[in-house]
């Protein structure tokens, strides 16, 4: 099969809608064509989302029992922990970030301005206007609300500085922390949360810096954790969509 023939069939291939012999010929072509391999992977990834377009159903309650019994009667192929760890190590991409504080460039500007922004939750608008009025074009601002149950009344204002690849976030009205707990911030890429540091606050208000190219992430979130975690162990109390921000 040549490139032009394969090109025509990639959509059908990704949907598993080719007769077997034709699918095999496409696969033969893919082995030698990196470009079509990448396209096929993208199309296949998209088609793998189609099951999520269906509505959830209500199976009979005994299906759960049946499955558990069937599983208990079926041996599983176990992997020894070392092998599992090695395999996991190859694909684990969760960098550990240290505690995020206000950046030096912010601290230099005016401690008073920062404090005012935090305490009055004026936002970041006031803070930024004060120190970065000249670079308004490279900023994107977001406002996120807390989870209506877990953090009603919480609000986060985040301003991203594209040229610095840094953001400043001011959050007010967070639920109070218990002993030993911290607020932990996350950026989420394709459903995978990346630790962006922890912070504490006696009154539920805080401000912090978040480093990273935010255009690479889809969501910002905050959890309450028993100390800094590599991955969240609790439900987020605030989640915001970074792709819906207005400049």
């Amino acid at each position: 099969m040549n490139c032009a023939e394969a090109e025509e069939l990639l959509g059908a291939y990704a949907l598993d809608a080719l007769p077997e012999d034709e699918a095999r010929r496409v696969e033969e072509h893919l082995r030698s064509c990196a470009e079509h391999r990448a396209t096929a992977a993208e199309l296949r990834q998209t088609s793998s989302l189609l099951p999520l377009t269906v509505e959830e159903g209500d199976p009979s309650p005994n299906l759960r029992v049946r499955i558990i019994e069937a599983v208990k009667a079926t041996p599983s192929h176990r992997v020894d922990p070392d092998t599992a760890a090695r395999r996991a190590g190859a694909t684990r991409v969760v960098p550990m970030r240290r505690l995020a504080r206000l950046p030096n460039w912010a601290a230099r500007a005016s401690r008073f301005a920062i404090a005012a922004a935090i305490v009055l939750a004026l936002g970041i608008g006031g803070l930024i206007g004060y120190q970065l009025g000249h670079s308004a074009q490279g900023q994107v601002a977001y406002t996120f609300q807390g989870d209506p149950t877990a953090a009603p009344g919480a609000e986060a204002r985040l301003v991203y500085f594209k040229d610095r690849k840094q953001a400043v976030v001011a959050i007010s009205g967070l639920p109070r922390l218990g002993s030993g707990q911290v607020y932990e911030m996350w950026l989420i890429k394709n459903g995978v949360p990346v630790d962006k540091g922890v912070s504490t606050s006696a009154n539920g208000d805080l401000a912090a810096q978040v480093s990273g190219d935010l255009s690479q992430f889809q969501q910002f979130a905050i959890t309450i954790e028993p100390g800094e975690q590599q991955l969240p162990t609790t439900k987020p109390i605030l989640v915001g969509n970074l792709q819906a921000g207005s400049a």
Partner: protein
């Protein structure tokens, strides 16, 4: 959850069922339109995940997508009365994924499903119908051309363009990278 499964902890199947059982059943029922058959397929799929958990490779896709692809393929096989040889999860997702904690996925899933449904519903009717016949009906491109009474080339391009439009829609909303 994937790590628990790999260690052979059967409670992981219970968690997996609690999270995706209703979705898996919804998918099987969408294809088979019959409760008993849909439940059988869901049961087979969960047992299959359990049996083959050691071979699960998170870098090739999520546990959820793996489970759902098994449900889909078993349901289609049952509907069409033949077991086509398939390469489940071959080629899928070039980008490595870290294992995501259980509590997180439930939140992400809800957001993601809404966006995917929206992206699918935005497609022009003929494209959406073509994807449905292929994915939920298990028809080949030639069969779909016959059913829809359009040339084969039209079906091929509707499939390709439909998937690409969905991808563009989801990428623009950050649901896909």
């Amino acid at each position: 959850m994937a790590a628990q499964l790999k260690r052979g902890e059967s409670t992981a199947i219970e968690s997996l069922y609690d999270r995706y059982g209703r979705l898996a059943y919804g998918l099987a029922f969408r294809i088979l339109n019959e409760r008993g058959a849909a439940e059988d397929v869901v049961q087979d799929a969960f047992v299959s995940v359990w049996r083959h958990a050691a071979g699960f490779d998170a870098s090739r896709g999520s546990l959820r997508n793996w489970l759902l692809s098994i449900v889909r393929n078993r349901a289609i096989d049952r509907l069409r009365g033949s077991a086509r040889i398939r390469t489940e999860l071959e080629l899928v997702e070039a980008e490595p994924r870290a294992e995501v904690p259980d509590v997180w996925e439930a939140v992400a899933l809800d957001l993601e499903r809404k966006q995917i449904q929206e992206g699918f519903n935005e497609l022009p009717d003929p494209q959406r119908r073509t994807l449905e016949l292929a994915y939920f009906g298990g028809y080949t491109h030639v069969e779909i051309a016959g059913r829809m009474e359009v040339p084969l080339g039209t079906v091929k391009s509707r499939m390709r363009i439909g998937l690409e439009k969905m991808r563009t829609f989801l990428t623009a909303r950050g649901a896909m990278g």
